[in-house]
Symmetry: C2
Subunit: 358 residues, 2 copies
């Protein structure tokens, strides 16, 4: 087992990474303060791993809420199901929530924990690669609104993140690829050497070789923890983690949440960010091609949906959280492995990218 | 104008109290950071005071959401109306929300501000006595759930509280009395001299004499600010502010939100707390009688609804936020003007109070 620490003063917490961690109850129980726990999971994950959680917490008063699976259910209505369960089992301020699942379960459980009785503790137990390397770490929680993704939420840090890499054995191929998109993101933002490693080890990752997966997860969590520790509330550097997300969120919203997986939309979004960076002459054509090929080798989409127009993109991007007082800021690449947050790009170049006039 | 400061380090903020403050635009604009504002109000208050807000903010991009009036609408559905409006007008992270109304508007606007895009600024402009002396100060925000009051929410401090006592001229008598209940609460918790003042000035308050109202509001906000500054997250002393609330919340929930005003339920709840304190021999019979009479003179109810049984009370009180790991904590009175948080009371005595077997 490897342990990283996310350093946030009195809200610091450990990230445990290893094979079979769900069989080590003390990792969970060390971070439960009260005497009661409620596990939130979904219909796909609960049959596989809820029993392990139940066994680990057998000396606590515990219950579970099983949600439908998918981004389409990441909304206020589903959140209310969690609140209703918490009230039905008389959960109090010392109850600990356990998020057992992917990013949707983690984000919703985290926001339920942030807002139930004005805040209770929670523990992240991510079971998808995407949740392991990105959404379970850093305290961003929330739900979608019909008019925009993740528009309702809170910063609420977990007590611990427990990553059992064994759970990846049951992950669908498409979900594995979606997670790899976020792994590649760290390389593109701040780690050229990691990009080279990913290029050399893509086949091993897709074959789910444990050592390759463990290294990719560890390195990704290390980057995430460093960035979040330096800028928890995203007043600066943390925004870099949204590389590809402004374009990607537009795709997710326009196609209907759940049609494109978040990681798939981010993959295409990163290509579009690379294209705009190339329009600004920050990247060369070979760089864009390298990024496309790396993502394609991970079986990820690299072109926007043909049904989406440039105007569709602009409409969805105009409500993006990175729009501050009306000016759109984007994450763009100055070179391979170095991204920046900037509003200083050519609007016409952006239009060419969105209208696919490259 | 009088100014109090709620001292919370870098989240400190001023509380302005005075006649006609809505005619002083700089009080508002000094606390707006971005270039856009959204005012949240209700059908009763907007026709009276929204124009003053619009005039004060005329150099900003602004719009308003008008909600239905009443505690019955303090729920996730109404909250979602606020989110929808914010997204429709493309509110961003620098948008400032203005809560113009009573406690329901303030609590919901505050929670919308806490959770829209993971947090935006807001300003409280309370227009009811209850909101002025209690709910607008201290950063408790949230909505009700069908199974419990204020069960969903967040701590989120406003940028400023602007109390224009002139707005009390349009307040319904019943709402004025409900506010006086929370004023009396401060006396019962921690200020015997204030109780004596209230006893001597009740007629002046009910006649809405400006000097009496101003003093009552100033003194109440001073108490609230002191308590919140010492215990923002309610790990200890702040719980005292819930005197009468555990009983009161049960009445509100059992009768259906909005049937009893919050202040009315708190008034009866404070009498029940006094009765239990007398059962514990901490108060004498004369003290209980003094409290009842003071509340009755403020035209407040002092007996629980006849349709509510003792079992009804227990059922609703068992999910109260003050239940920690299963043991009920209550705010009780050691003497007139001195309250404590305690789980150390006789369960049979509580039953006698709830079953009205006194």
């Amino acid at each position: 087992m490897q342990t990283l620490n996310l350093d946030l003063g009195d809200r610091s917490y450990p990230i445990y990474i290893g094979q079979g961690l769900l069989q080590q109850p003390e990792l969970l129980t060390a971070h439960v303060q009260g005497r009661s726990c409620v596990t939130v999971s979904n219909e796909t994950i609960a049959p596989l791993y809820l029993e392990a959680i139940n066994a680990a917490l057998k000396s606590y008063k515990q219950s579970a809420v099983i949600l439908p699976d998918g981004e389409a259910y990441k909304n206020l209505d589903t959140l209310n199901q969690i609140y209703t369960h918490l009230l039905e089992v008389k959960a109090d301020r010392k109850t600990t929530l356990i998020a057992l699942g992917g990013g949707v379960v983690g984000d919703m459980t985290g926001f339920a924990a942030a807002s139930y009785q004005r805040g209770v503790n929670f523990i992240q137990v991510p079971t998808t690669l995407l949740a392991m390397v990105d959404s379970s770490v850093g305290g961003k929680t929330g739900v979608n609104h019909a008019l925009g993704k993740n528009m309702i939420g809170a910063f609420h840090q977990p007590q611990a993140v427990i990553i059992d890499t064994h759970t990846l054995s049951t992950l669908a191929d498409r979900e594995l690829s979606a997670g790899i998109a976020e792994v590649i993101k760290y390389g593109l933002i701040r780690d050229p050497a990691f990009l080279t490693w990913l290029d050399a080890n893509m086949a091993a990752l897709l074959a789910r070789e444990p050592e390759a997966l463990s290294y990719a997860i560890y390195r990704s969590c290390q980057h995430k923890a460093e960035v979040v520790a330096s800028d928890e509330r995203e007043s600066g550097q943390r925004a870099l983690l949204n590389l590809g997300h402004t374009f990607g969120h537009a795709i997710e919203a326009a196609m209907g949440y759940g049609q494109w997986l978040h990681g798939e939309a981010v993959a295409t979004g990163m290509v579009m960010a690379a294209e705009l960076s190339a329009q600004m002459a920050w990247l060369g054509p070979a760089d864009v091609s390298y990024i496309r090929q790396l993502l394609e080798r991970a079986h990820l989409p690299v072109d926007p949906p043909p049904t989406m127009t440039g105007d569709d993109f602009m409409r969805y991007m105009s409500v993006d959280k990175k729009v501050l007082d009306g000016s759109l800021r984007l994450i763009l690449m100055k070179s391979l492995g170095e991204s920046i947050v900037t509003a200083d790009f050519d609007a016409d170049a952006l239009k060419r990218v969105l209208h696919r006039e490259l």
